[in-house]
Symmetry: C2
Subunit: 260 residues, 2 copies
Protein backbone atom coordinates (compact mmCIF):
# COMPACT_ATOMS: atom_id res chain seq x y z
CA UNK A 1 0.00 0.00 0.00
CA UNK A 2 1.47 3.34 -1.05
CA UNK A 3 0.34 6.95 -1.04
CA UNK A 4 -0.98 8.03 -4.43
CA UNK A 5 1.20 11.03 -5.18
CA UNK A 6 -1.39 12.71 -7.40
CA UNK A 7 -4.89 12.28 -8.71
CA UNK A 8 -3.62 11.06 -12.08
CA UNK A 9 -0.97 8.40 -12.41
CA UNK A 10 1.46 7.14 -15.01
CA UNK A 11 1.78 3.33 -15.12
CA UNK A 12 4.62 1.74 -17.10
CA UNK A 13 6.13 -1.70 -17.31
CA UNK A 14 9.13 -3.17 -19.06
CA UNK A 15 11.35 -6.23 -18.85
CA UNK A 16 14.83 -7.57 -19.46
CA UNK A 17 15.33 -11.15 -20.63
CA UNK A 18 18.52 -13.21 -20.64
CA UNK A 19 20.10 -13.44 -24.10
CA UNK A 20 17.71 -10.76 -25.38
CA UNK A 21 18.44 -7.67 -23.28
CA UNK A 22 21.58 -8.90 -21.56
CA UNK A 23 24.09 -11.71 -21.93
CA UNK A 24 24.36 -14.47 -19.37
CA UNK A 25 27.84 -13.33 -18.35
CA UNK A 26 26.99 -9.63 -17.86
CA UNK A 27 27.50 -8.32 -14.30
CA UNK A 28 24.39 -9.02 -12.22
CA UNK A 29 24.28 -5.60 -10.59
CA UNK A 30 24.24 -3.88 -13.98
CA UNK A 31 21.45 -6.15 -15.20
CA UNK A 32 19.34 -4.91 -12.28
CA UNK A 33 20.26 -1.32 -13.03
CA UNK A 34 19.26 -1.71 -16.67
CA UNK A 35 15.94 -3.37 -15.84
CA UNK A 36 14.96 -0.42 -13.65
CA UNK A 37 16.53 2.31 -15.77
CA UNK A 38 14.53 1.23 -18.85
CA UNK A 39 11.30 2.04 -17.05
CA UNK A 40 12.65 5.33 -15.71
CA UNK A 41 13.55 6.21 -19.31
CA UNK A 42 9.98 5.47 -20.35
CA UNK A 43 8.71 7.88 -17.69
CA UNK A 44 11.27 10.49 -18.75
CA UNK A 45 9.97 10.35 -22.31
CA UNK A 46 6.61 11.71 -21.17
CA UNK A 47 8.08 14.15 -18.68
CA UNK A 48 7.25 12.06 -15.62
CA UNK A 49 9.07 10.68 -12.58
CA UNK A 50 8.37 7.23 -11.11
CA UNK A 51 7.60 7.00 -7.39
CA UNK A 52 7.04 3.29 -6.73
CA UNK A 53 8.33 0.11 -8.38
CA UNK A 54 7.15 -3.49 -8.34
CA UNK A 55 9.63 -6.17 -9.36
CA UNK A 56 8.83 -9.62 -10.77
CA UNK A 57 12.01 -11.66 -10.87
CA UNK A 58 12.17 -15.10 -12.47
CA UNK A 59 15.38 -16.81 -11.49
CA UNK A 60 16.76 -19.65 -13.60
CA UNK A 61 17.53 -22.74 -11.53
CA UNK A 62 21.23 -22.45 -12.48
CA UNK A 63 21.56 -19.03 -10.79
CA UNK A 64 22.75 -18.56 -7.20
CA UNK A 65 21.05 -16.54 -4.50
CA UNK A 66 24.14 -14.32 -4.52
CA UNK A 67 23.58 -13.51 -8.20
CA UNK A 68 19.95 -12.64 -7.45
CA UNK A 69 21.00 -10.36 -4.57
CA UNK A 70 23.40 -8.53 -6.87
CA UNK A 71 20.60 -7.97 -9.39
CA UNK A 72 18.46 -6.51 -6.59
CA UNK A 73 21.37 -4.29 -5.56
CA UNK A 74 21.43 -2.90 -9.09
CA UNK A 75 17.72 -2.12 -8.89
CA UNK A 76 18.32 -0.44 -5.52
CA UNK A 77 21.17 1.60 -7.06
CA UNK A 78 18.75 2.93 -9.65
CA UNK A 79 16.04 3.55 -7.03
CA UNK A 80 18.46 5.62 -4.93
CA UNK A 81 19.75 7.55 -7.94
CA UNK A 82 16.27 8.35 -9.27
CA UNK A 83 14.32 8.62 -6.05
CA UNK A 84 11.71 5.89 -6.40
CA UNK A 85 10.95 3.20 -3.81
CA UNK A 86 10.62 -0.55 -4.14
CA UNK A 87 7.03 -1.20 -3.13
CA UNK A 88 7.18 -4.96 -3.48
CA UNK A 89 7.68 -7.86 -5.79
CA UNK A 90 7.59 -11.53 -6.50
CA UNK A 91 10.42 -13.96 -7.08
CA UNK A 92 9.69 -17.08 -9.05
CA UNK A 93 11.85 -19.95 -10.23
CA UNK A 94 12.06 -20.65 -13.96
CA UNK A 95 13.56 -23.68 -15.73
CA UNK A 96 15.90 -21.71 -17.98
CA UNK A 97 16.68 -18.05 -18.80
CA UNK A 98 16.26 -15.53 -16.00
CA UNK A 99 14.19 -12.40 -16.55
CA UNK A 100 12.95 -9.34 -14.68
CA UNK A 101 9.79 -7.37 -15.23
CA UNK A 102 9.51 -4.01 -13.47
CA UNK A 103 6.37 -1.87 -13.22
CA UNK A 104 6.41 1.65 -11.91
CA UNK A 105 3.82 4.25 -10.97
CA UNK A 106 4.25 7.96 -10.50
CA UNK A 107 2.25 11.18 -10.65
CA UNK A 108 1.19 12.22 -14.15
CA UNK A 109 2.47 15.58 -15.37
CA UNK A 110 -0.30 18.15 -15.89
CA UNK A 111 -0.02 17.77 -19.64
CA UNK A 112 1.80 14.51 -20.37
CA UNK A 113 3.89 14.65 -23.51
CA UNK A 114 3.09 11.83 -25.91
CA UNK A 115 4.66 10.61 -29.13
CA UNK A 116 1.47 11.55 -30.96
CA UNK A 117 1.59 15.34 -30.56
CA UNK A 118 3.91 16.21 -33.47
CA UNK A 119 2.87 18.38 -36.44
CA UNK A 120 4.03 18.69 -40.02
CA UNK A 121 7.02 21.04 -40.13
CA UNK A 122 8.14 20.35 -36.52
CA UNK A 123 11.87 19.89 -36.16
CA UNK A 124 13.22 16.59 -34.83
CA UNK A 125 15.95 16.68 -32.16
CA UNK A 126 17.81 14.05 -30.16
CA UNK A 127 19.59 14.32 -26.81
CA UNK A 128 23.13 13.03 -26.29
CA UNK A 129 24.87 10.78 -28.79
CA UNK A 130 23.80 7.60 -30.54
CA UNK A 131 25.33 4.28 -31.50
CA UNK A 132 27.33 1.34 -30.21
CA UNK A 133 25.42 0.96 -26.96
CA UNK A 134 25.34 -2.82 -26.92
CA UNK A 135 28.92 -3.29 -28.16
CA UNK A 136 30.30 -0.83 -25.59
CA UNK A 137 28.09 -2.20 -22.79
CA UNK A 138 26.70 1.31 -22.33
CA UNK A 139 23.22 -0.28 -22.37
CA UNK A 140 23.99 -1.76 -18.93
CA UNK A 141 24.90 1.52 -17.25
CA UNK A 142 23.00 4.23 -19.14
CA UNK A 143 21.54 7.21 -17.30
CA UNK A 144 17.86 7.69 -18.16
CA UNK A 145 17.26 11.29 -19.26
CA UNK A 146 14.77 11.92 -16.49
CA UNK A 147 15.55 15.52 -15.59
CA UNK A 148 16.02 16.37 -19.27
CA UNK A 149 12.67 14.77 -20.15
CA UNK A 150 10.79 16.53 -17.35
CA UNK A 151 12.35 19.84 -18.37
CA UNK A 152 11.66 19.39 -22.09
CA UNK A 153 8.05 18.36 -21.49
CA UNK A 154 7.41 21.77 -19.87
CA UNK A 155 8.95 23.81 -22.69
CA UNK A 156 6.65 25.70 -25.02
CA UNK A 157 6.79 24.26 -28.54
CA UNK A 158 7.87 20.72 -27.62
CA UNK A 159 5.05 18.69 -29.20
CA UNK A 160 6.05 15.01 -29.04
CA UNK A 161 8.70 12.88 -27.35
CA UNK A 162 9.82 9.25 -26.93
CA UNK A 163 12.92 7.42 -25.75
CA UNK A 164 15.13 5.65 -28.27
CA UNK A 165 15.16 2.08 -27.03
CA UNK A 166 14.86 0.28 -30.38
CA UNK A 167 16.93 2.65 -32.51
CA UNK A 168 15.92 5.56 -34.75
CA UNK A 169 15.09 3.24 -37.64
CA UNK A 170 12.32 1.66 -35.58
CA UNK A 171 11.42 4.52 -33.23
CA UNK A 172 11.30 7.55 -35.54
CA UNK A 173 8.67 5.98 -37.83
CA UNK A 174 6.63 5.24 -34.69
CA UNK A 175 6.70 8.85 -33.50
CA UNK A 176 5.93 10.17 -36.99
CA UNK A 177 3.12 7.68 -37.54
CA UNK A 178 1.57 8.35 -34.10
CA UNK A 179 1.62 12.05 -34.96
CA UNK A 180 0.00 11.43 -38.37
CA UNK A 181 3.11 12.68 -40.18
CA UNK A 182 5.95 11.49 -42.37
CA UNK A 183 9.59 12.35 -41.68
CA UNK A 184 12.81 13.54 -43.25
CA UNK A 185 15.96 12.56 -41.34
CA UNK A 186 19.43 13.92 -42.15
CA UNK A 187 21.77 11.02 -41.32
CA UNK A 188 24.83 13.26 -41.66
CA UNK A 189 23.59 15.40 -38.78
CA UNK A 190 23.23 12.55 -36.28
CA UNK A 191 25.31 13.03 -33.10
CA UNK A 192 27.34 9.81 -32.93
CA UNK A 193 29.50 8.15 -30.34
CA UNK A 194 33.13 7.75 -31.49
CA UNK A 195 33.72 4.86 -33.92
CA UNK A 196 30.02 4.57 -34.79
CA UNK A 197 28.63 5.18 -38.24
CA UNK A 198 25.19 6.66 -38.82
CA UNK A 199 23.62 3.60 -40.42
CA UNK A 200 24.64 1.33 -37.55
CA UNK A 201 23.54 3.94 -34.98
CA UNK A 202 20.08 4.17 -36.59
CA UNK A 203 19.67 0.40 -36.52
CA UNK A 204 21.26 -0.29 -33.13
CA UNK A 205 18.88 0.75 -30.40
CA UNK A 206 19.59 0.68 -26.67
CA UNK A 207 20.63 4.36 -26.62
CA UNK A 208 17.84 5.52 -24.29
CA UNK A 209 18.28 9.07 -25.54
CA UNK A 210 15.19 11.22 -26.16
CA UNK A 211 13.77 11.94 -29.60
CA UNK A 212 11.52 14.98 -29.68
CA UNK A 213 9.55 17.16 -32.07
CA UNK A 214 9.64 20.95 -31.61
CA UNK A 215 7.67 23.62 -33.50
CA UNK A 216 10.06 25.24 -35.99
CA UNK A 217 9.72 28.71 -34.41
CA UNK A 218 10.56 27.36 -30.94
CA UNK A 219 13.70 25.38 -31.79
CA UNK A 220 16.14 28.21 -31.06
CA UNK A 221 14.59 29.32 -27.75
CA UNK A 222 14.43 25.69 -26.56
CA UNK A 223 18.04 25.00 -27.59
CA UNK A 224 19.33 28.19 -25.98
CA UNK A 225 17.57 27.49 -22.69
CA UNK A 226 18.78 23.86 -22.88
CA UNK A 227 22.42 24.96 -23.20
CA UNK A 228 22.13 27.04 -20.04
CA UNK A 229 20.60 24.11 -18.17
CA UNK A 230 22.27 20.89 -19.37
CA UNK A 231 25.77 19.88 -20.36
CA UNK A 232 24.53 17.51 -23.06
CA UNK A 233 24.04 17.75 -26.81
CA UNK A 234 20.55 18.53 -28.17
CA UNK A 235 20.86 18.13 -31.90
CA UNK A 236 18.44 18.88 -34.77
CA UNK A 237 18.39 15.79 -36.99
CA UNK A 238 15.44 16.34 -39.35
CA UNK A 239 11.77 17.22 -39.44
CA UNK A 240 8.24 15.90 -39.52
CA UNK A 241 6.63 16.12 -42.95
CA UNK A 242 3.34 15.40 -44.66
CA UNK A 243 2.36 11.74 -44.30
CA UNK A 244 3.77 9.33 -46.89
CA UNK A 245 7.31 10.73 -46.82
CA UNK A 246 10.03 8.62 -45.15
CA UNK A 247 13.52 9.86 -45.91
CA UNK A 248 16.90 9.23 -44.37
CA UNK A 249 16.60 5.74 -42.92
CA UNK A 250 17.82 4.01 -46.07
CA UNK A 251 20.23 1.21 -45.30
CA UNK A 252 19.26 1.00 -41.62
CA UNK A 253 16.81 -1.84 -41.97
CA UNK A 254 13.76 0.40 -42.23
CA UNK A 255 11.06 -1.02 -44.45
CA UNK A 256 8.41 1.41 -45.75
CA UNK A 257 5.92 -1.37 -46.12
CA UNK A 258 6.02 -2.21 -42.43
CA UNK A 259 4.07 0.98 -41.74
CA UNK A 260 1.50 0.64 -44.49
Amino acid sequence: VVEAAASRLVLKTDCVIENVHYRSEDPARKIGWKAAARVVSDFAAMGARPKHALVTFALAKSRSGQWASSVYRGIADCARRFGFSLAGGETSSTPVGSWLSISMTGPAPEVPLLRSGGNEGDRLLVTGRLGGSFASKRHLRFLPRREEGCWLAKRKGVTAMMDLSDGLAADLPRLASASGCGFRLRPESLPLHPWCDAVAAMADGEDYELLLAVSASRVNPVRNAWKRRFNLALTPVGELTAPGIAEGLEGAGYDHRADS
Copy 2:
Protein backbone atom coordinates in the same frame (compact mmCIF):
# COMPACT_ATOMS: atom_id res chain seq x y z
CA VAL B 1 -2.11 7.76 -17.60
CA VAL B 2 -5.00 6.74 -15.38
CA GLU B 3 -7.07 8.38 -12.67
CA ALA B 4 -5.87 7.47 -9.18
CA ALA B 5 -9.02 6.05 -7.64
CA ALA B 6 -8.00 6.95 -4.09
CA SER B 7 -5.29 8.67 -2.12
CA ARG B 8 -3.77 5.32 -1.10
CA LEU B 9 -3.10 2.56 -3.57
CA VAL B 10 -2.47 -1.16 -3.53
CA LEU B 11 0.24 -2.30 -5.97
CA LYS B 12 0.66 -6.02 -6.71
CA THR B 13 2.49 -8.03 -9.30
CA ASP B 14 2.64 -11.70 -10.20
CA CYS B 15 3.63 -13.89 -13.11
CA VAL B 16 2.99 -17.19 -14.86
CA ILE B 17 5.85 -19.08 -16.50
CA GLU B 18 5.65 -21.93 -19.01
CA ASN B 19 6.31 -25.32 -17.40
CA VAL B 20 6.10 -23.74 -13.94
CA HIS B 21 2.58 -22.29 -13.69
CA TYR B 22 1.13 -23.83 -16.83
CA ARG B 23 2.02 -26.56 -19.29
CA SER B 24 2.96 -25.78 -22.89
CA GLU B 25 -0.17 -27.48 -24.18
CA ASP B 26 -2.66 -25.75 -21.87
CA PRO B 27 -5.30 -23.62 -23.64
CA ALA B 28 -3.90 -20.14 -24.31
CA ARG B 29 -7.03 -18.30 -23.21
CA LYS B 30 -6.96 -20.00 -19.82
CA ILE B 31 -3.29 -19.16 -19.37
CA GLY B 32 -4.21 -15.49 -19.78
CA TRP B 33 -7.11 -15.88 -17.34
CA LYS B 34 -4.85 -17.47 -14.74
CA ALA B 35 -2.14 -14.83 -15.09
CA ALA B 36 -4.65 -12.08 -14.34
CA ALA B 37 -6.73 -13.99 -11.77
CA ARG B 38 -3.65 -14.65 -9.62
CA VAL B 39 -3.20 -10.91 -9.09
CA VAL B 40 -6.92 -10.38 -8.44
CA SER B 41 -6.65 -13.10 -5.79
CA ASP B 42 -3.76 -11.24 -4.18
CA PHE B 43 -5.92 -8.10 -4.00
CA ALA B 44 -8.83 -10.10 -2.61
CA ALA B 45 -6.63 -11.37 0.21
CA MET B 46 -6.28 -7.85 1.57
CA GLY B 47 -9.86 -6.86 0.86
CA ALA B 48 -9.05 -4.79 -2.22
CA ARG B 49 -10.18 -4.56 -5.85
CA PRO B 50 -7.79 -3.88 -8.75
CA LYS B 51 -8.63 -1.02 -11.13
CA HIS B 52 -5.81 -1.01 -13.69
CA ALA B 53 -3.50 -3.70 -15.06
CA LEU B 54 -0.19 -3.58 -16.91
CA VAL B 55 0.86 -6.67 -18.84
CA THR B 56 4.40 -7.70 -19.74
CA PHE B 57 4.25 -10.60 -22.18
CA ALA B 58 7.36 -12.48 -23.31
CA LEU B 59 6.50 -14.64 -26.27
CA ALA B 60 8.70 -17.61 -27.17
CA LYS B 61 9.78 -17.57 -30.80
CA SER B 62 7.94 -20.85 -31.38
CA ARG B 63 4.54 -19.31 -30.50
CA SER B 64 2.16 -17.87 -33.09
CA GLY B 65 0.51 -14.47 -33.01
CA GLN B 66 -2.80 -16.30 -32.75
CA TRP B 67 -1.67 -18.01 -29.55
CA ALA B 68 -0.65 -14.63 -28.13
CA SER B 69 -4.03 -13.13 -29.05
CA SER B 70 -5.80 -15.95 -27.24
CA VAL B 71 -3.73 -15.31 -24.13
CA TYR B 72 -4.74 -11.63 -24.28
CA ARG B 73 -8.38 -12.68 -24.70
CA GLY B 74 -8.07 -14.63 -21.45
CA ILE B 75 -6.71 -11.54 -19.69
CA ALA B 76 -9.60 -9.53 -21.13
CA ASP B 77 -12.09 -12.18 -19.89
CA CYS B 78 -10.76 -11.68 -16.38
CA ALA B 79 -10.77 -7.87 -16.75
CA ARG B 80 -14.43 -7.93 -17.78
CA ARG B 81 -15.40 -10.34 -15.04
CA PHE B 82 -13.61 -8.40 -12.29
CA GLY B 83 -14.00 -4.86 -13.56
CA PHE B 84 -10.41 -3.71 -14.06
CA SER B 85 -9.00 -2.13 -17.21
CA LEU B 86 -5.88 -2.92 -19.22
CA ALA B 87 -3.84 0.27 -18.94
CA GLY B 88 -0.99 -0.89 -21.13
CA GLY B 89 1.80 -3.34 -21.57
CA GLU B 90 4.87 -4.52 -23.37
CA THR B 91 5.37 -7.54 -25.58
CA SER B 92 8.86 -8.91 -25.93
CA SER B 93 10.28 -11.90 -27.75
CA THR B 94 12.13 -14.54 -25.74
CA PRO B 95 14.27 -17.43 -27.01
CA VAL B 96 12.39 -20.17 -25.16
CA GLY B 97 9.56 -20.45 -22.59
CA SER B 98 6.82 -17.83 -22.74
CA TRP B 99 5.82 -15.93 -19.61
CA LEU B 100 3.48 -13.18 -18.50
CA SER B 101 3.93 -10.72 -15.68
CA ILE B 102 0.90 -8.68 -14.65
CA SER B 103 0.91 -5.70 -12.28
CA MET B 104 -2.26 -4.14 -10.96
CA THR B 105 -3.15 -1.03 -8.98
CA GLY B 106 -6.33 -0.25 -7.13
CA PRO B 107 -7.60 1.85 -4.24
CA ALA B 108 -6.44 0.70 -0.81
CA PRO B 109 -9.19 -0.28 1.65
CA GLU B 110 -9.40 2.04 4.67
CA VAL B 111 -7.82 -0.59 6.87
CA PRO B 112 -6.08 -3.12 4.62
CA LEU B 113 -6.09 -6.62 6.04
CA LEU B 114 -2.61 -8.13 6.20
CA ARG B 115 -1.31 -11.57 7.02
CA SER B 116 0.43 -10.10 10.05
CA GLY B 117 -2.61 -9.12 12.12
CA GLY B 118 -3.39 -12.46 13.76
CA ASN B 119 -3.30 -13.07 17.53
CA GLU B 120 -2.76 -16.10 19.74
CA GLY B 121 -6.07 -17.89 20.15
CA ASP B 122 -7.57 -16.65 16.86
CA ARG B 123 -9.37 -19.34 14.91
CA LEU B 124 -8.17 -20.25 11.40
CA LEU B 125 -10.75 -20.61 8.62
CA VAL B 126 -10.58 -21.34 4.90
CA THR B 127 -13.05 -20.54 2.12
CA GLY B 128 -14.22 -23.15 -0.37
CA ARG B 129 -12.48 -26.51 -0.78
CA LEU B 130 -8.84 -27.48 -1.18
CA GLY B 131 -6.81 -29.95 -3.22
CA GLY B 132 -6.21 -31.30 -6.68
CA SER B 133 -6.18 -27.94 -8.42
CA PHE B 134 -3.32 -28.67 -10.78
CA ALA B 135 -4.43 -32.22 -11.60
CA SER B 136 -8.01 -31.13 -12.30
CA LYS B 137 -6.88 -28.03 -14.25
CA ARG B 138 -8.91 -25.93 -11.82
CA HIS B 139 -5.84 -23.69 -11.47
CA LEU B 140 -6.50 -22.44 -15.03
CA ARG B 141 -10.07 -21.35 -14.44
CA PHE B 142 -10.35 -20.52 -10.74
CA LEU B 143 -12.49 -17.62 -9.56
CA PRO B 144 -10.54 -15.30 -7.27
CA ARG B 145 -12.48 -14.74 -4.02
CA ARG B 146 -12.67 -11.01 -4.57
CA GLU B 147 -16.13 -10.26 -3.21
CA GLU B 148 -15.59 -12.70 -0.36
CA GLY B 149 -12.24 -11.09 0.50
CA CYS B 150 -13.64 -7.56 0.44
CA TRP B 151 -16.56 -8.64 2.61
CA LEU B 152 -14.39 -10.54 5.12
CA ALA B 153 -11.91 -7.66 5.43
CA LYS B 154 -14.72 -5.44 6.72
CA ARG B 155 -16.00 -7.89 9.33
CA LYS B 156 -15.25 -7.20 12.98
CA GLY B 157 -12.88 -9.82 14.41
CA VAL B 158 -11.17 -10.84 11.15
CA THR B 159 -7.52 -10.15 12.00
CA ALA B 160 -5.37 -11.60 9.20
CA MET B 161 -5.88 -13.02 5.71
CA MET B 162 -3.94 -14.37 2.72
CA ASP B 163 -4.70 -16.35 -0.41
CA LEU B 164 -3.61 -19.99 -0.67
CA SER B 165 -1.44 -20.01 -3.76
CA ASP B 166 1.37 -22.27 -2.53
CA GLY B 167 -0.68 -24.64 -0.36
CA LEU B 168 -1.44 -24.63 3.37
CA ALA B 169 1.87 -26.32 4.20
CA ALA B 170 3.74 -23.29 2.85
CA ASP B 171 1.19 -20.53 3.41
CA LEU B 172 -0.11 -21.22 6.93
CA PRO B 173 3.38 -21.02 8.49
CA ARG B 174 3.81 -17.68 6.68
CA LEU B 175 0.61 -16.21 8.11
CA ALA B 176 1.40 -17.52 11.59
CA SER B 177 4.98 -16.28 11.47
CA ALA B 178 3.99 -12.83 10.13
CA SER B 179 1.53 -12.62 13.04
CA GLY B 180 4.20 -13.62 15.58
CA CYS B 181 2.29 -16.83 16.40
CA GLY B 182 2.50 -20.59 16.07
CA PHE B 183 -0.35 -22.71 14.76
CA ARG B 184 -2.36 -25.85 15.36
CA LEU B 185 -4.10 -27.24 12.25
CA ARG B 186 -6.67 -30.04 12.35
CA PRO B 187 -6.10 -31.93 9.08
CA GLU B 188 -9.29 -33.95 9.55
CA SER B 189 -11.33 -30.74 9.40
CA LEU B 190 -9.98 -29.55 6.04
CA PRO B 191 -12.71 -29.03 3.41
CA LEU B 192 -11.47 -31.15 0.51
CA HIS B 193 -12.41 -31.52 -3.12
CA PRO B 194 -13.62 -35.04 -3.98
CA TRP B 195 -10.86 -37.61 -4.37
CA CYS B 196 -8.30 -35.47 -2.56
CA ASP B 197 -6.64 -36.43 0.69
CA ALA B 198 -5.67 -33.88 3.31
CA VAL B 199 -1.92 -34.38 3.07
CA ALA B 200 -1.89 -33.85 -0.69
CA ALA B 201 -4.23 -30.87 -0.37
CA MET B 202 -1.95 -29.21 2.16
CA ALA B 203 1.08 -29.67 -0.08
CA ASP B 204 -0.57 -28.91 -3.42
CA GLY B 205 -1.15 -25.19 -3.72
CA GLU B 206 -2.92 -23.42 -6.58
CA ASP B 207 -6.24 -23.37 -4.69
CA TYR B 208 -6.52 -19.57 -4.45
CA GLU B 209 -8.91 -19.91 -1.54
CA LEU B 210 -8.61 -17.51 1.39
CA LEU B 211 -7.03 -18.42 4.72
CA LEU B 212 -8.06 -16.12 7.56
CA ALA B 213 -7.70 -15.65 11.28
CA VAL B 214 -10.75 -14.61 13.33
CA SER B 215 -10.95 -13.72 17.04
CA ALA B 216 -12.47 -16.71 18.83
CA SER B 217 -15.48 -14.71 20.08
CA ARG B 218 -16.28 -13.47 16.55
CA VAL B 219 -16.17 -16.80 14.71
CA ASN B 220 -19.87 -17.56 15.07
CA PRO B 221 -21.16 -14.09 14.11
CA VAL B 222 -18.84 -14.02 11.08
CA ARG B 223 -19.86 -17.54 9.97
CA ASN B 224 -23.58 -16.80 10.40
CA ALA B 225 -23.38 -13.58 8.38
CA TRP B 226 -21.26 -15.39 5.77
CA LYS B 227 -23.92 -18.09 5.31
CA ARG B 228 -26.55 -15.47 4.59
CA ARG B 229 -24.27 -13.78 2.04
CA PHE B 230 -22.30 -16.50 0.20
CA ASN B 231 -23.04 -19.95 -1.10
CA LEU B 232 -19.54 -21.21 -0.29
CA ALA B 233 -18.00 -23.12 2.61
CA LEU B 234 -16.17 -21.18 5.33
CA THR B 235 -14.58 -23.83 7.50
CA PRO B 236 -12.69 -23.64 10.82
CA VAL B 237 -9.52 -25.67 10.42
CA GLY B 238 -7.42 -24.79 13.47
CA GLU B 239 -6.05 -21.90 15.48
CA LEU B 240 -3.13 -19.57 16.05
CA THR B 241 -1.10 -20.45 19.14
CA ALA B 242 1.89 -19.19 21.08
CA PRO B 243 5.00 -19.04 18.90
CA GLY B 244 7.06 -22.22 18.60
CA ILE B 245 4.07 -24.53 18.09
CA ALA B 246 3.54 -26.01 14.60
CA GLU B 247 1.02 -28.84 14.58
CA GLY B 248 -0.94 -30.55 11.86
CA LEU B 249 1.25 -30.19 8.78
CA GLU B 250 3.12 -33.44 9.36
CA GLY B 251 3.61 -35.38 6.15
CA ALA B 252 2.83 -32.41 3.90
CA GLY B 253 6.41 -31.42 3.28
CA TYR B 254 6.46 -28.81 6.00
CA ASP B 255 9.85 -28.43 7.62
CA HIS B 256 9.96 -26.71 11.01
CA ARG B 257 13.54 -25.67 10.45
CA ALA B 258 12.65 -23.63 7.38
CA ASP B 259 11.04 -21.02 9.67
CA SER B 260 13.77 -20.85 12.27
